[in-house]
């Protein structure tokens, strides 16, 4: 599978390492090249410095048509926007956005984006360990609603053809 990870923090880097080792085609994006130091020297995928909410950057990174996009930056809204760009404009089959605000996490799952809410996940892990009842907060939510584009996605006149080359050129040696 072709998997794009936006945000190379601990979770992003660990996911990249594991999926790369499992033989998937992994592309990691982060605004800071220093974040790529978290990737192991054995990482065979692509690491690109850039803003994951910028459609041009995503296109250059070859995101169009990827199987999965996982948005894991520290900003809930950046993650939501990356995920929506991926699904609406770039034909990515499956998108997951980390959204730590429980209200936003459930709202966006209803808008057709799978969300991952650390608040609920952590609290319930603790609750389980302590034998307390579940928090009722969202954890990992599958999309329940349709994304806005429905069947017809955004039509864009731009092509992604020359993009991959450029992205390769800008790729950072991990």
């Amino acid at each position: 599978m072709k998997i794009v990870i936006v945000g190379c923090g601990r979770v992003g880097a660990s996911a990249a390492e594991a999926w790369d080792a499992a033989g998937h085609e992994v592309v990691v994006l982060d605004m800071a090249t220093s974040a790529f130091e978290r990737l192991p020297s054995t990482f065979k995928g692509t690491a690109i410095r850039g803003d994951g909410t910028d459609e041009d950057v995503l296109r250059r990174a070859g995101v169009a048509g990827a199987d999965v996009l996982l948005a894991l930056t520290e900003g809930d809204n950046r993650n939501v926007m990356s995920a929506q760009l991926a699904v609406e404009a770039l034909d990515v089959a499956k998108v997951i956005a980390k959204v730590n605000d429980p209200l936003r996490a459930s709202a966006y799952s209803e808008l057709g984006i799978a969300t991952l809410c650390r608040t609920g996940l952590m609290l319930d892990a603790v609750n389980e360990y302590l034998g307390m009842p579940k928090s009722g907060l969202p954890g990992m939510l599958a999309p329940t609603g349709q994304h806005h584009g429905g069947d017809h996605h955004l039509e864009t006149s731009r092509t992604s053809a020359p993009a991959t080359e450029a992205a390769r050129g800008a790729a950072v040696e991990a």
Binding site: T53, D54, E55, D56, G75, D76, N77, R78, V80, M81, Q84, L85, E88, A89, D101, P102, L103, R104, A107, Y108, E110, L111, H148, G149, L154, T156, S157
Partner: protein
Amino acid sequence: MFVLVVGGGKVGYYLAKELIDSGHEVAVMEKDPTRARQIADEIGSIVIARDGCEGKYLAEAGSNRADVVAAVTGDDEDNLVICQMAKHHFDVPRTIARVNNPKNEALFRHLGVDELISPTRMILGSIEQDIPVHELLHLATLGEGELELIEAHLQPGSPAIGRAPRDLDIPDGCSLFAVIRDGLATPLRPETILREGDKVIAIGKQECEAMLHGQLIGDPEAAAVR
């Protein structure tokens, strides 16, 4: 009307001030406490020192009874999320977003934001008006964003020179309705013969642009979407 303004920067501040002066009920959300205090000194206790992206605070600010939510922060992703939350979670009838990257306009519109204001696009538009260009000039976006008001400056080489609109192959859903010649605007009739230097004003769907370009400017391959 109750207007919830999210983002207390320069735009949000002056917007709130104007709205108050026109007699509207206004609340401003600004996440930076220092900035919030600063503008609260000027416009009073309607300033809420909270992050308007956070669902809980959006609810507390009364977004469920807002007539309009205007998201005017400096970050596109925040403005998008504020408008989407307002629209889909709090059923706000009208949402307005400031868009900094003009490329985000299509996405925002597609995702249901009612109205977009793009300072970048506006400034770009006014610069382009001052520079003679060989391409189509976008004057405005109409309707739900599907229609464009376009100006075509007929330069030497334009296939339209010496011909009348009725002899041109104008795509469906597109209309040439006025011509600016010698500084005067006149209605463009089907039989008006076009001349070099004419500025033809057209309204049409975005998709018609390439064809219009071919008919009025020439060389359709150079059609640039701006």
